[in-house]
Point group: D2
Chain length 350, copies 4
Amino acid sequence: MPTTVQPAVVGATGYTGAELTRLLLKHPRCRTPLLFHDRDEAANADFAELYPWYADANASARLPIERLDWAQMQRAGVDVLFLCTPHELSRRLVPQAVERGLRVVDLSGAWRLKQATHRAVYAFEDENPQAASALDASAAYGIPELRASAIADARVVANAGCYATSIILALAAWIDGGLLDVNAGVVCDSKSGVSGAGKAATARTHFVEVSDNFSAYSVFGHRHTGEVLEQLGLERAQLQFTPHLLPIPRGIFSSIYVRARNGTRARDLDACLREFYRDAPFVRVRGSGKLPEIRFTLHTNYCDIGFAMESDGPRVLLVSCLDNLVKGASGQAVQNFNVMYGFDQREGLQ
Amino acid sequence: MPTTVQPAVVGATGYTGAELTRLLLKHPRCRTPLLFHDRDEAANADFAELYPWYADANASARLPIERLDWAQMQRAGVDVLFLCTPHELSRRLVPQAVERGLRVVDLSGAWRLKQATHRAVYAFEDENPQAASALDASAAYGIPELRASAIADARVVANAGCYATSIILALAAWIDGGLLDVNAGVVCDSKSGVSGAGKAATARTHFVEVSDNFSAYSVFGHRHTGEVLEQLGLERAQLQFTPHLLPIPRGIFSSIYVRARNGTRARDLDACLREFYRDAPFVRVRGSGKLPEIRFTLHTNYCDIGFAMESDGPRVLLVSCLDNLVKGASGQAVQNFNVMYGFDQREGLQ
Amino acid sequence: MPTTVQPAVVGATGYTGAELTRLLLKHPRCRTPLLFHDRDEAANADFAELYPWYADANASARLPIERLDWAQMQRAGVDVLFLCTPHELSRRLVPQAVERGLRVVDLSGAWRLKQATHRAVYAFEDENPQAASALDASAAYGIPELRASAIADARVVANAGCYATSIILALAAWIDGGLLDVNAGVVCDSKSGVSGAGKAATARTHFVEVSDNFSAYSVFGHRHTGEVLEQLGLERAQLQFTPHLLPIPRGIFSSIYVRARNGTRARDLDACLREFYRDAPFVRVRGSGKLPEIRFTLHTNYCDIGFAMESDGPRVLLVSCLDNLVKGASGQAVQNFNVMYGFDQREGLQ
Amino acid sequence: MPTTVQPAVVGATGYTGAELTRLLLKHPRCRTPLLFHDRDEAANADFAELYPWYADANASARLPIERLDWAQMQRAGVDVLFLCTPHELSRRLVPQAVERGLRVVDLSGAWRLKQATHRAVYAFEDENPQAASALDASAAYGIPELRASAIADARVVANAGCYATSIILALAAWIDGGLLDVNAGVVCDSKSGVSGAGKAATARTHFVEVSDNFSAYSVFGHRHTGEVLEQLGLERAQLQFTPHLLPIPRGIFSSIYVRARNGTRARDLDACLREFYRDAPFVRVRGSGKLPEIRFTLHTNYCDIGFAMESDGPRVLLVSCLDNLVKGASGQAVQNFNVMYGFDQREGLQ
C-alpha cells in the first residue's frame, strides 16, 4: 500500500471532472492531480477560474488544465488516470493508458458492459479490436459494494453509471437473497437532476426548457439498462426502466416497483438490506417505512435506501437516492480508487 | 338552457378557489361570482388584494370575500355553488346547499367515492347519515369525458381529484377497449407540483424543504386511489399508485406502466385513444412515441396523453400531463359546470 | 380603420416570436400570421410541434415556419411585419420591408436609438447608410404609454427593450412632473428571468449554471441604457443601471433608487403616477407603500408600479415589475400594433 | 489555549442551528455539542432524524435535542453556549448564561447594537435592565475580520447579521481607507435566499409564493440597518438598504452603489481591498472587473468581493456574495468561536 498516489484527470472542465478534481485536491493520499481537457480545440484553462467555488482563498494556487500529454504524465510519475470523457474518447484513451502502465478509472460508459448485445448501444469503432476485447473482459465494474475484490485487482475500473448505481444498490440485496419474484417484473421509474446531462449547453439543458417542467426520455432504450441487467443477472423482459428529467441541478431518485416472494415480510426485507450493507460505509439503509429524499444525499457519497411494503403484501415500493455527481460519478470513482490502492473506502470522502 | 348563471364560491382564498374565481370572472355565461371564505375565523378579505395577478387594471373593481351566508346567496339568486373547501366542510355544506335548492360542484374528495370501503379513508362523521347516504349515491363523478350524461342531470357533481384525473383519462380508453392485461399490474408513478398540497404553510410546502429536492408520500394509501379503482373498474391488487412531490409550483406528470394484451400493436393503442377522445375538446392525444411534458399543459385545461410501446411488446409506458389547478381542479369544475347547464364544454376555458 | 390585418412574423421559433405568435393567433383583428424563421440554415418547422402548449386540441391545424420569402408575403397580402430577429438582421430586413410597402414592428434593438453615440454599442454595418439614417430618424420608439401618436403614424415601430420598458414606465411620470432631483443620481438595479437571454443554449442559460445562483452582468454597458437616457431625457452621469440574472424563467423586477425634490410628499408622488397613467390600460399603479412582485404580472401585459418613500424623505424606492416576454416584448408589440391600426390598445391582450 | 472545548447549542432544530451543529460535530477542537431546542412546547427530537443529510452512515449515533437545562450543561462541563434563538429569547438567556460563567456566541440580533436608537427596532423588555445594559456595552460585534481583538476577549459575542456581514465586509476597506464619497449616498440592494427567513412555515416561505417570483421587503426599516451604520460609522441619511427575497434556498448577493472620491482609480480600490483583507482567510477579493456570483460561496464560509468602476469614474458597483447560513450565520459563529479560544480562524471550516 503506497503512501501517496499521483493522479491525473482527463476532462476536468466538465461537471464530473470538476467534482472529481475537488475530491482529489483534498484527498489525503493524493498528490495534486494533473488536469487535462478532453477536447483538442479547447484553449488551456485554469481550474480555479472555471470553478471558483472549489478554489480556496489563496488565489495564487493556479491549477492549469492542459492538453492531454502522455510524456508530461510520465515525467510527473502519474500512477492512475481518471477519465471524465465521452465514451468514444474513453474507448480510445484507455488502451493507450494501459499500454503505458497506468491504472485507469473510467467514468464513461465505454468499458462497463460485458455482453456484446448490450455494448451495441454504444457502437464502438475500436482501433485495435483485439486489445479492446481483452479490456472488455478484464475491466472491473466499478461499484465497490458489490465488486470490491475485482476492483482491487483491476487495471481498468469502469465506474458504474449514475442511474445504474441507484438501481443496482437498491435491488442487489434482495435479488441476491432470493426475496423477489423478478418474473412479476421490476419497474424502475428514475428521476435525475440536470447535471446528469452534462455541461454542454443544449435545448435539453436550457433553464427555460427545464424549469417548471418534468419530462421522460430514452424510454425503452437508456444506455444504463445493460449495466443493471448484467450486474443484477436479470433478463431484459424482467426490467422496465424509464429515466426522467427533474428541474433541479443534481440528485437521483429511483422509485422501484417489485413483488416479494410469497411469505416474505417487511422485516425480512429490512433485515436482508441491513445485513447485505453491514460493512458498506456509503449505503445508508433507512429501512422499512422510511423513504429517503434526494436532499438527504446531496453533496455526499451516500446512497440512501428505504422501502414500503403493502400491508398485505406482496407489493413493495423501493426507493434509492444519491447525488449523481458524487456517488453516481466522482465520489464513487474516488471510492473505487481507494479500493484499488488498498486505502479505507472513506478516505477523502468525508 | 339559461343565458347566464349566478355562481358562488366557498373557499375562494385558496389556490383552487382563486383559480376558479379567475375562470368564472371571465366566463361569458356567468354573472360575477359571490365569494366566501371557508374558515369562520377569517377576516373579510378582498380577492383583488389577495391575488393581484388576477385583477385587471381598474383597481376600483373590488371583490369582497365574505363569511358564508345562505341568506345573502338567496337574495343574490345564486344558482350554483362551487365548494373549494376541506372535505369535512364539504361533507357538511353540500346537504345544506341541496336542501336550499342549489346545484353544487364540490372540488373536495367528500362525495367522489361510491364504495364505503373506499370512503373509509376520509372517516366522515355525517350529521344526517341518511341524507348523506342518498347524496353519496346520487352525486355524479365529475370527469366530463367519461360521465357527461350523469353530470348533466346531477344536483351534486363531485369534481374528480387531480391525480385521479391524470390516471383515469390516461387508462380509460384502453381498459374500455379491452386492450390491457390489467392482471399483470398497473403501476402509476405520479408527480405533482406543490400547489397540490394547498395554500397552508407547512413543513411540506416550505420553499427550503421542497427546492432542490424530490420525495414520495402517501405510499400505498393516497386518497385518490379509490377514485381510480371505482372509475376504471379495477381491483385494489391490480393498481399500485405512488404520488411524489415535484419542486415546481404546478403540474402533474403520471408515468403509467402497463402491459398490452397479446397481439396488441402500438397502432391499435394509438387508434383506440384517438377514437375514444375524438369529441373531447380537452384531451390531446399525442399518440405513439410522443410523450407529453408538464409545460405543455400549464395554465390550460388540457390533459395530454402519449405513450411508448416496447418494440417487441407487450410493455407500455403511458404518460399523462395536466395542470393540477386547472384540469386537475378548477378548470374541470368549470367544464363540469358547462355540462350541467348545457353550455359548450369549452365556454370560459380558452 | 381596417377590420382585419394580415401579419407575418420573422423569428417565430424563438421565445419572443413564439409568444407573439400565440398572441396574434387569438387576436380578433388578425388573420392567421405567416411564420418565418430567421436563420438561413434552419429546416422548416411547425409551430405546433415546437410549442405544443400554444396549440389547441385540433392537431390538424399546422402552422409551418418557413424560410423568409418576400414574394410569398406579397401573395398573402401581408400588411405588417413583426421582426423577432437579432438586431443585425433587423437592421438589414427593415429597409427591405419598408421598400415593399410593409409596416414593421421590430422587437430587436436595431432602430430604437436616436443618438449615434448610443447606437455605437450595436456597431451596425448598413448596406445603405442613407436609407438607414432616414429610418433611424423616422422610426417611432415603441412604448405606447408615452409615444402613442408617433406610433400611430409610424411605418416602423422600434418596440422598446424589456429592461428599458420597466425603467422608463416607472420613472416617466415623476420626471415629466419635475418631482425628482435627478442630479442626485438614479440607480436602477434590475433583475430578469432567463428567457430574457433568448432561446440559444449557452453557458449563461444552462440550468445548472443558473439555478440556485444569482449574478450581475453587462455592468456599466448594457445596451438598454441608451433607450432609457433618450426616452427620459437623462444625462449618462445621472443614471446607473445594472442588470442581474434571476433563476426564474420570466419576469423583470426593477428596484429604482431616486430622491424626490424638496417638499415632495409621498401623496404627491402617488397622485402624479395615477394621473399620468389614468388612461393607460396596462400600467397598474399600486401606489405608495405597495410594492409589486414579479408574479403579479406573469403572462400578462401589465407593468405594475409601486414605491416606498422614507418617512422623512427625500429618498424613494420605486419598483416596477413586468413579464419580459409580454409587456417587455411581444405583448407590447401587439399593443403597438393596435395603436398603429387604430384598434383599442387592449385588443388581443386580455 | 485549551485543547478541546465543550459547546452547547440552543435552537438546534432551526436552519442556522442545524448548520452550526453540523460544523461543530466535525470541529477538531470541539467535543460533541449538547443540543437544546428553543421552544418550551417542542417534544424531544433527534438531530439525525431531523437532518438525515448531516448524519453519517452509523445510524446508532443519536443526537438528542432536549429541553434547555442549565444543570445538565453544568454537569457536562459546557464552556460555550451558541444561541440560535429568536432575539427575544436570546435577550433573556444571555444574562442567565453569563451569570453561570459561560461564554456565549449569540446568533440573533439581540446584542449587536450599541446605540439605543438602533436597538429600538427590537423593543426589548429586559427583566434586569441594568445587567442588560452592561452586556449591551460589553458584547463584541461578531465579525472577526474587523473586531478580532474584542471578540478574543469577549464573554458575549453578538454574531453579525447575514445582510450586515455582506455589506460591512464589502464597504469596510474603502471607508476605512477614505476612498469613498459617502455623502453622495450608499445604496445597498441586497438579495437573499429563503432560508434567511427561517424554518417557520409562513406565507412568505411557501414554495408556491416564492418560486418564479421576486419581491422586496422591509423597505426603509430592516433590522440589519443599524448594524451596518454602527460598524461602518455611517449616518442614517448616507445609507439606503433594501432586502429582497430570491427564489433559491440559500445565498446573499449585495449590489452596492457608491461613488469614489475624486482621483481614485480602480487600481487604488483594488489594492485597498487586497491589503485590508491580506490576512483574512475567509474574504476572497476577486478585484476590479471580477464580480462574484452566489454559487461561488454556497456551503462555504467565504465572502467574495468584486467591483466594477465606470471607465471615467467616479461611480462604482461593488458586489459581495456569501452563504447566509455559513458566513452569514453559523460559519461565522464558528469563526468567532475560534477567535475567542485562540484557535486558527480556519479550524473546522474547511
